[in-house]
Amino acid sequence: MSRIDTSVNIAGVVLKNPVMTASGTFGSGEEYSEFVDLNKLGAVVTKGVANVPWPGNPTPRVAETSSGMLNAIGLQNPGMEVFIKRDIPFLKKFDTKIIVNVCGRSEEDYCQVVERLADEDVDLLEINISCPNVKEGGIAFGQDPKAVEHITSELKKRARQPIIMKLSPNVTDITVMAKAAEAGGADALSLINTLTGMKIDIHKRAFALANRTGGLSGPAIKPVAVRMVYQAANAVKLPVIGMGGIATAEDAIEFILAGATGVSVGTANFFNPTATEEVVSGIEAYMEKYGVDKITDLIGAVR
């Protein structure tokens, strides 16, 4: 298999393969390191990190749907100081890239995290702009192109690592958001975050999630994700990291053919703890089978 080149370059950072973990589904890697050799992954993307600890939402926080799940974790996290002290050193033990997912309730929150991480040994920052934005009345940054461009350029000024803007799919036209992030100076894009959904328990006549709405993820959303990755990759020059329902190498290759340079495995970890590693080896097998030497030849090959 040594003949095959699965490496990809995202904003100057070379990953040994395009396979990463989707933020929030893999903690900071520790729990799944019992099942997966983290050295085999292109990168580990951490759970969202804020400037201070966030308690998250009340429970129930998760519910199952057809081929999908809803979550309203509410971005619970221990805050950047604990993250830097505990989680970065853990991840540094492995030969994989570290991508820190950043969340905030205001522009200042995001800026603080990005500035604090400037001197830390992490490879890339992924900015989750679907976080609830208290100041702007609950509409996420990610749904307004002006806000996307503005926050991107503010963070770009402060960041020492390349920044990946993570786009929300709950928009009319994903290309508008992609271009806004590009105009703001983003180094890469990642998409999709979850689709907003709801479930009602008809026997209890109550919302299944305490938060009422939650984010839909898993195989159910894959067709929407592939479409948006295709549209975004064709609208901007930036590398795109695709995610949304990836559970197998076949799914990952579908995203790559649509234009993704990287791929993230999210919800699939919950139903197959070794999903990430299997995606890596499955991609290699596909390349072997079809005589593809460089994975970069597959990126955006269907158009």
Partner: protein, 259 residues
């Protein structure tokens, strides 16, 4: 940290032991041998439309045969699916998960209450087999009694039923009072109202009390933060007032958690 295993385990037997209640023995390679009482397994659906594993307590283990037993109630589509499977079919499971009951808090010269309520009774079976000291088992049911034979073999069994059809009419606490029982330590698993009552009961009487909680889960291994309960103090892992039921629990000291 205890090791976890993912296995394609074969169903050795399955039987219906009550209205909508099923008992299944699974042949496992490693999980049964590694398990301690109070731990659970994640059972994966074979239907691709249902993604999330179902957490089910380990009811009994047979370390020699490498087999484990689960006892579950049909609560929805997932458990209904499991109930249809028969001997020979393979179920994908992950375990053993969670911390389990701290056996060392009981033992020689100590009296323990082993309390199960409804579908929280199964883990009490293995607990009653392995724990030392004086075993006073109190099982609470709505109406229909199940697993009583197994429980009787490992201690003195007191039953409470809500409809009074068997044993004390009322709750497990009513059964404790009616029989004038006391204990040095409590282990319990069951519905939240029962656990809440036991927490204050234990506080009043100054008894150490270990509770096994339930919460909706996604990953089952501590990664997703889906299954948290509220902790009295800021938790060492989360750095907020949250503990993960799947990983930090499901068994907690009653004073550690808010119910």
């Amino acid at each position: 940290m205890a090791e976890k295993f993912r296995e394609d385990s074969e169903i050795i037997s399955q039987e219906c032991i009550g209205t909508d209640i099923y008992s299944m023995w699974l042949k496992t390679d490693k999980i049964a041998r590694a398990a301690v009482p109070g731990q659970f397994i994640s059972v994966y659906s074979r239907d691709g439309s249902r993604l999330l594993p179902r957490p089910i307590s380990i009811c009994e283990t047979d370390k020699e045969k490498g087999a484990l037993r689960i006892v579950y109630r049909i609560a929805g589509a997932g458990t209904r699916e499991f109930s249809k499977y028969h001997r020979g079919i393979k179920l994908s499971i992950l375990g053993p998960l969670g911390n389990g009951f701290p056996l060392e808090r009981a033992g020689e010269g100590k009296k323990a209450f082993l309390i199960g309520g409804g579908i929280g009774i199964p883990p009490i079976v293995e607990l009653s087999k392995q724990i030392g000291g004086v075993r006073q088992i109190i099982a609470g049911y709505r109406d229909e009694v199940f697993l009583a034979e197994e429980l009787k073999q490992n201690g003195s069994l007191y039953i409470a039923t809500e409809d009074g059809s068997c044993g004390t009419c009322g709750t497990v606490i009513d059964a404790i009072k009616e029989n004038g029982l006391d204990a040095d330590v409590i282990y319990a698993c069951g519905p939240t109202p029962m656990l809440r009552a036991l927490k204050s009961f234990a506080q009043e009487r100054g008894i150490e009390c270990w509770l096994s909680l339930e919460e909706r889960m996604a990953c089952g291994v501590g990664a997703c933060l889906g299954c948290v309960c509220q902790s009295t103090e800021v938790d060492g892992h989360s750095h907020v007032h949250n503990k993960r039921v799947c990983k930090d629990g499901p068994v907690f000291l009653s004073t550690e958690v808010e119910l």
